[in-house]
Symmetry: C2
Subunit: 112 residues, 2 copies
């Protein structure tokens, strides 16, 4: 990003969808989510055993998923239990569905 151009603004749903997609845009994070879907929840340590990555790296990925709202962490001292954030997960699902299903049949044919 060369220019510190005043940022282009898009519709809220566009920004949201892009943000979610970005969070999903790494295989490790997809794998973590798939793991959570089977598992109902897990701890950081579990994932460190599953993936050949440093604990700090896993933690970083979890943070991104949490920032995107896709997962939530619950304190279970001394551990932290991560689960899918069901409400946001459903919202995300809807946003993707909207993208993939919204091809209007009334298309503006501008092309030759």
């Amino acid at each position: 990003m060369k220019k510190t151009i005043e940022n282009i603004s898009y519709r809220k749903s566009t920004e949201e969808l892009a943000g979610l997609a970005k969070a999903l845009g790494h295989p490790t994070r997809i794998a973590i989510l798939k793991h959570l879907e089977n598992q109902s929840c897990c701890f950081t340590g579990d994932l460190v055993d599953v993936f050949p990555l440093a604990q700090s790296t896993i933690s970083q990925h979890l943070k991104e998923l949490k920032n995107a709202g896709l997962i939530q962490g619950e304190l279970k001292p001394p551990k932290i239990k991560y689960c899918i954030h069901q409400e946001n997960w459903n919202k995300a699902k809807l946003l993707f569905e909207e993208l993939f299903n919204s091809q209007s049949s009334i298309k503006i044919e501008k092309c030759g």
Copy 2:
């Protein structure tokens, strides 16, 4: 990426989904796709008028969408007509559906 670790390999569908999500992970590219859905197709030049971005930047975004397989370009000299790649679009749709719907009810409860 500090380490030139021999790359972790994930299941094919995980890699594919992550790749697609990454391509969707920028608001400009989401907006381009939404535009294509209404429009049935468009030319690079059209998008340059719609978005306050340089022509080279738009072209770059189109390239990424093309690499991800989400759009295709058809030569209409001297222009190039871009459309949604319907077959891959449907595949992508399925992969996301699979992610969002696959929460197994038989969850392995490992958590306290």
